[in-house]
């Protein structure tokens, strides 16, 4: 029987296969992340809810890894600088959360469900580039 963390590791592995160059933080399985499906909580660490379908959980992992990837590029990986300085400066104090990361997360979920119709989202042209 697969444990919650083993499940997260498996799905995180799928993200790594699809995006070998994407930032690869520690991904910790949590039962309930409250009003989030996942969260970038500290340098190099994200939490992700392990309940839900494979596609929703994998999309949540992908979304959080994109945040870390952007933080690696913009703030040297610092979660505090990313959340309190970069995001408000880049996206405005009233909505300090990257809309591109939302859009690509939804695109990824779309691809996982309908791979014949929707290609894997391309992350080569993200505004911050990838490392």
């Amino acid at each position: 029987m697969e444990s919650p963390q083993e499940r997260i590791n498996r799905l995180n592995g799928n993200v790594s296969k699809n995006y070998p160059t994407l930032a690869s933080p520690q991904v910790v399985a949590v039962k309930d992340a409250g009003k989030f499906s996942g969260k970038f909580v500290s340098d190099g660490k994200v939490i992700v809810e392990y309940t839900g379908s494979d596609a929703t959980v994998e999309s949540g992992i992908f979304h959080e890894r994109l945040h870390v990837d952007e933080a690696n590029y913009e703030t040297g990986g610092s979660q505090l600088l990313y959340m309190y300085i970069h995001e408000p400066l880049e996206h405005g104090i009233l909505n300090p959360h990257d809309p591109d990361i939302d859009d690509i997360g939804i695109d990824y979920y779309r691809h996982l469900n309908f791979p014949d119709k929707y290609l894997l989202p391309n992350i080569d042209n993200l505004p911050w580039g990838t490392e």
């Binding site: 009003k35 309940t51 379908s53 949540g60 959360h97």
Partner: protein, 137 residues
């Protein structure tokens, strides 16, 4: 000296308040992604369930009783949040319901209708069309 202390305390309080505000707004953004993913998941899972009926039986469910034929408890586990159900109508996290139509017996269209959020703010399609078991639109 007292004035300087007051200014420093005021500045400290202002910085602290700003940090809490940014934290709150960032959380709100992250929560919004979560809700969009839930709503898209709910829409997708209903559509896939209707399509899987075709794959199993060779025909699509009738329009009159499609909601009675779906076991929501099975679908509820897949999207972090349960669907709401009133009077045999399903509603998603934003209060939208679904309109189901058969297309010439070999296809189906599912439309997401009347949610609290404007569809253009949600970043996902509001119509899914399947023909012969495959998504075409």
């Amino acid at each position: 000296m007292k004035l300087l202390m007051k200014i420093m305390l005021g500045l400290g309080a202002l910085i602290l308040l700003s940090l809490f505000l940014i934290q709150y707004l960032n959380d709100r953004g992250e929560s919004r992604f979560h809700k969009k993913l839930v709503a898209y998941c709910q829409f997708t899972e209903i559509a896939k369930e209707l399509n899987s009926f075709y794959q199993a039986n060779g025909y699509y469910l009738s329009e009159s009783d499609w909601q009675l034929s779906i076991d929501l408890s099975l679908l509820n586990e897949r999207c972090y949040e349960d669907y709401s159900e009133y009077d045999n109508t399903f509603y998603d996290i934003f209060g939208a319901s679904y309109k189901y139509e058969k297309l010439n017996g070999t296809g189906m269209r599912l439309t997401r209708v009347r949610g609290r959020e404007e569809p253009q703010n949600l970043d996902f399609e509001q119509i899914m069309v399947f023909k012969l078991g495959k998504r075409v639109e």
